[in-house]
Symmetry: C2
Subunit: 254 residues, 2 copies
DNA sequence: CCCCTGTTCGCATTGAATGAGAATTACGAC
DNA sequence: GTCGTAATTCTCATTCAATGCGAACAGGGG
């Protein structure tokens, strides 16, 4: 039995199997799955169909495996992300109806930006962000806003773990901490072409009662930024609305 | 060791634990969780913190447990529901901008209506539907549309399992199968006050290439149905758009 | 004070999970 | 058709990781 080395609880494997799926690879053969998840083949087969029996995974006619509808259902019935999203939706729609470009909601998670929600008009510019997808902190306006309003120890540990961030921010060398302070002073962050060369990101924090960011809302605009300063107040009004709608929410971790 | 009776694989328990959470009870003590999930206390404690370690669950400062952000992330990175939602969103927004009431997207699952997405204007009437929530088939316009365009064996097994449906549909006794045929003839379903006494549900199917419903889109309107017939074409146009946007999607099960 | 509920820990027990590998099937390429 | 490769299914002896009882501990009302 369990005759082998690896210190894997079954749950560990279970998570690794789920993690093998992402937006770019939403279905695959069991064998491939076993390879990606680094779980022994025979075991993977057993696990997969046990999971399929509970509809956490589903097997397509082709034999490929993908995430199951029940997993989605369970995760979306109640969760921090769901609560946040629900509180924010009406305000995001308000923003959207004015800005008419991608409007997104995100939180900070494991030193990355986790996108919670995203509204897109038909004519929006292209944008790589996906719901439940992640973006790098220091290349996005949402990320920098989240970091700027994060507790000190989060900022410091981010800096410690991501020295490359300092180099990337603007052509000139500069003080990252001061950059964060600037963002706090303005109350928003705006970046040109850092994700896509022809778009501008603009984001403001949703502030909790102790001044920390519990989330960020941002928009992605085409580079021709005429009335950009007219948009900031719209975002801020939305953010205040969301903050009010969120009585108290568990934080997002670090 | 597994010295006890129950034929529970660990995964079985895992699912039961997750299932203990729903929109009405999004966090609880471990002991309560153990009771609801019917998992032995000591085992529950062990499982909960193993799951918490992987952020499938999270422990709040108060000690209560709730679903974790990572679970949400995994489930939303890729899943049938996510794909469908993504294909449908632009069309739902179009519909919403015209109708200005709740606009929802749902599929049939286990003889129930599973709500996938839901847009609500600020001034919408009250509506109990929640994302990832379920509604009864024969009391909702979305449910009846889904059933009307479902394969025959699904309809029959629904009838077999839900004899009460026949009695409920309209004051007069009547032929349920014929009712479904009527819906197919019209191409939509409209029900007054069956969920809430002061609202009307209106729904059309999103048809796959073989004529089956792969989803339904519906709106919830206040009972004063003046221009109701003007809305149907809007929904149908949206449904066609969604159908086109969905190249091929795995079905939703039965 | 007692009682009730939630939480943590120790521990002996064993059956359920494990993974190597053989056998079989599916699928292209040619 | 004939290979050849990859995917899948099965078998099976091994054993340790998961199990759950029960006892102990911690609060917190009343």
């Amino acid at each position: 039995m369990a005759n082998s080395r690896s210190g894997d609880s079954m749950l560990e494997r279970f998570v690794r199997i789920l993690s093998a799926f992402d937006a770019t690879r939403s279905s695959m053969s069991v064998a491939t799955l076993a390879r990606r998840a680094e779980v022994p083949l025979a075991t993977t087969y057993r696990l997969v169909d046990e999971m399929a029996r509970h509809e956490l995974l589903s097997r397509e006619p082709s034999g490929e495996v993908r995430l199951g509808l029940r997993l989605w259902e369970l995760a979306n019935r109640s969760s921090p992300a769901v609560d946040l999203r629900q509180a924010a939706m009406p305000f995001m729609e308000d923003i959207q109806s004015v800005v008419r470009q991608h409007t997104q909601l995100a939180v900070l998670k494991d030193d990355e930006v986790l996108i919670i929600e995203r509204l897109s008009s038909r004519g929006s510019v292209v944008n790589q962000a996906k719901i439940a997808g992640r973006m790098p902190v220091h290349r996005t306006a949402m990320g920098m806003v989240l970091l700027a309003y994060a507790p000190n120890h989060v900022q410091e540990s981010y800096l410690a773990r991501h020295p490359e961030a300092v180099a990337v921010v603007d052509a000139v060398s500069f003080d990252f901490r001061r950059h964060l302070a600037d963002i706090r002073k303005r109350g928003y962050a705006a970046f040109d072409g850092r994700v896509d060369t022809d778009t501008t990101g603009l984001a403001v924090p949703v502030l909790g009662k102790h001044g920390q960011a519990i989330a960020a809302i941002g928009v992605v605009l085409p580079l021709g930024l005429e009335n950009l300063s007219a948009i900031v107040p719209v975002l801020m009004a939305g953010a205040r609305g969301i903050a009010r709608a969120v009585g108290e929410l568990p934080a997002s971790s670090s």
